[in-house]
């Protein structure tokens, strides 16, 4: 009973799961970005080969189920936490200066998270669904031509704009999220915590900046 409440029922337990799933999802973002960079530094066939590998290699397939579960848990848990937080202050302040003592990203994690989730749904429909269940033409190597629909999507300015805004939103989410996850797990240290903070913020900017750069590259590159 104690273990159950300690790991699932309490407010702290919910936060542990947010932190752990959040950190795990970052590892996915890194791998995803490495694949996407083949659009910029590789060829269409490289990108398609990467996509084929990611959808067929058994260990990756197993991890992908863990990933879907993590996304779901992070989203559902986040919504439950946000609802509890709203309920904890039924009558709001007439005047509330949130910016006086806390950063913008940290105060808007739920909003940024929900926007990221909406983006994820659109994104999965555009690419993941097509890759798994759509009928895509094959490239020269016999791989599904994911590159073709990716470029077609990014050449639509509104789609690229949505993508870039979503990456900025995700960037803000991670700006606070990384250091917050370490704090939630209690992994703090006088020397290393400032390093985690800087590393987390650097990761947020580099990761999301690189993701956002790709549709812009597709839009302006004469070679694609």
């Amino acid at each position: 009973m104690t273990l159950k409440r300690g790991l699932f029922g309490s407010s702290l337990a919910r936060k542990y799961w947010m932190a752990l799933t959040g950190l795990f999802l970052i590892s996915f973002l890194v791998i995803h970005l490495v694949g996407n960079l083949t659009i910029v530094i590789g060829t269409a066939d490289d990108f398609n080969a990467y996509a084929a590998f990611m959808t067929s290699f058994p260990p990756i397939k197993i991890i992908s189920y863990l990933l879907y579960a993590s996304i779901l848990l992070h989203a559902v848990d986040g919504i439950v936490l946000a609802r509890q937080n709203r309920a904890a202050r039924p009558v709001g302040y007439g005047e509330y200066r949130g910016s006086a003592n806390a950063g913008w990203a940290s105060r808007n994690m739920a909003l940024l998270g929900i926007f990221t989730l909406l983006f994820l749904l659109v994104h999965m429909k555009s690419f993941w669904f097509e890759m798994h269940f759509g009928s895509l033409p094959l490239d020269a190597n016999g791989n599904k031509d994911l590159f073709g629909i990716t470029v077609a999507a990014f050449e639509q300015v509104w789609y690229s704009a949505f993508y870039v805004v979503a990456m900025v939103s995700l960037g803000f989410h991670l700006w606070h999220g990384v250091e917050s996850a370490f704090q939630t797990m209690g992994w703090t240290h006088p020397t290393y915590t400032p390093v985690v903070q800087i590393a987390g913020r650097t990761l947020a900017v580099v990761l999301c900046g690189a993701f956002a750069m790709i549709p812009l590259y597709v839009l302006i590159s004469p070679n694609i």
Binding site: L12, A88, Y93, G186
Partner: protein
């Protein structure tokens, strides 16, 4: 100084309140915020209207009673102070100042600016103590060596006055800073080790039952805390709770 005050008036926990606007004149910049509120109340009494109810006791920053949310911040714009230590020189002549009670489900309004913070007491009752009879033959305090760093950190945590500014300022009305300070002051000392696991479990359990929100690690609480209690205590409680859940 002449000021316009927008003060929250509410008859009791059941009725919905609203802001009332008052003018106060010739306020000295050397007055504390509570003294300015006293001037307002004298004025209201002389006019035959009901004075504004607010909590106060020591008026020297150690009792933690003077819970006022001033211009959108707990204890007003100054840092490291309670409302009684906030001086009117922090404001300008002609300012409009908004004064509200702490707002949290777990801190119901008793009347006007006074809230019921007994939820904090119930959290302490759930585990914020050591079950040792302290009457009679006490060992010498220096007989148990405690590392200086731990002693200082425990003392810093113990300076919490339970004012509730952390809850009031937190966007989620979370009590994590208060509870973690109380958990830390024992967790850091040998006397607290015996009941450490039960303590953190029971206190967190009570915190959840009282209806406080969850911690988003914004850090607003440590900025507004009049005693400057660090969110390092929250990290420590997170560790303590995880340890208690997993291995005891």
């Amino acid at each position: 100084m002449n000021l316009t005050l927008k003060v929250w008036r509410q008859k009791n926990a059941k009725e919905t309140g609203s802001f009332a606007t008052y003018q106060v004149r010739d306020i000295s910049p050397d007055m504390s915020f509570l003294e300015m509120m006293d001037v307002l109340n004298e004025q209201l009494i002389s006019q035959g209207t009901e004075s504004v109810v607010f909590d106060h006791d020591c008026r020297e920053g150690i009792c933690g009673m003077c819970s006022m949310f001033i211009n959108g911040e707990a204890h007003g714009p100054d840092r490291g102070v309670t409302t009684c230590q906030l001086h009117m020189r922090k404001f300008k002549d002609g300012d409009t100042i908004t004064v509200e009670p702490w707002r949290a489900k777990a801190f119901p309004v008793v009347r006007d600016l006074m809230v019921d913070r007994s939820s904090f007491d119930r959290i302490i009752q759930a585990g914020g103590f050591i079950s040792v009879n302290t009457m009679g033959n006490l060992p010498d305090a220096n007989a148990t060596p405690i590392e200086k760093h731990d002693a200082d950190a425990a003392f810093d945590a113990a300076t919490c006055i339970g004012c509730g500014a952390c809850v009031a300022t937190c966007k989620n009305a979370s009590a994590m800073l208060f509870v973690s300070a109380k958990v830390s002051q024992f967790a850091l000392l040998p006397q607290g080790q015996v009941e450490a696991a039960d303590r953190v479990r029971n206190m967190v359990n009570q915190m959840d039952l009282e209806g406080f929100g969850n911690c988003t690690n914004t850090g607003a609480c440590e900025v507004e805390c009049p005693k400057g209690i660090s969110i390092e205590n929250i990290a420590r409680m997170n560790r303590e709770y995880l340890k208690a859940s997993l291995i005891s």
